[in-house]
Symmetry: C2
Subunit: 109 residues, 2 copies
Amino acid sequence: MSALAALADPVRARIVEMLAERDRSAGEIGEHFPISQPAISRHLRVLRNVRLVTARGDAQRRVYSLDPTAFDEIDEWVTRCRRIWNRRFDSLERHLDAVAAKKSRGGEK
Amino acid sequence: MSALAALADPVRARIVEMLAERDRSAGEIGEHFPISQPAISRHLRVLRNVRLVTARGDAQRRVYSLDPTAFDEIDEWVTRCRRIWNRRFDSLERHLDAVAAKKSRGGEK
DNA sequence: CTTTTATATAACTTGACTGTTATATAACTT
DNA sequence: AAGTTATATAACAGTCAAGTTATATAAAAG
């Protein structure tokens, strides 16, 4: 599963937001959702697998941290699409400039 | 379905990339995938629904364009998380500064 | 007006994902 | 060592999304 697919789930997106604020244990995270503890645990596993979060042990607890590296992956994709998209208008502009230049050289109409 | 969820599907992500390059008809898009025409048609409907693309008629064809507005939605979410995340280090910095200042004022150890 | 071309919709199947309860693991507490 | 706390895993059920084939629509071409 990709980082993007992982974030498509609203619970996981919210978990990521929570972890942006501060590190939290699995239990702390679970308190904010009306679903069972195992469900949260599996969401956390998914987020670990796509490297959106990391976990460290603290006695019985597992404390989760956001790993913002995965954001870059998404950001880069969006940015790349935007860059390609913008390039279209650049070349359209060049084309229109060329047409305008031709008109000037060759006289009206 | 959110724009993020729509892009989580690899076929749709690829379609968006293709449309960033240039507008294409539904058929043109379909040629690039090993799946049936109806499957492509439904992916396009999903992309239309989340406003990632628009379609205009050209005789029997439907020509699809990227609508990069929806990118902003994703970008904003990612940026917001990053901003919150970065703020953590700002306040950590402030804390460390405060500790350092105290030390200077109060003498060593 | 019948046929062809391009795309969309309908009905259905299948597989993956999210939730559940029950149970295992692992560390702290007494 | 026995009990408690925190989290993970197993097994299973329901939902939903993505694929399929068959069919409908709509414009072009003959």
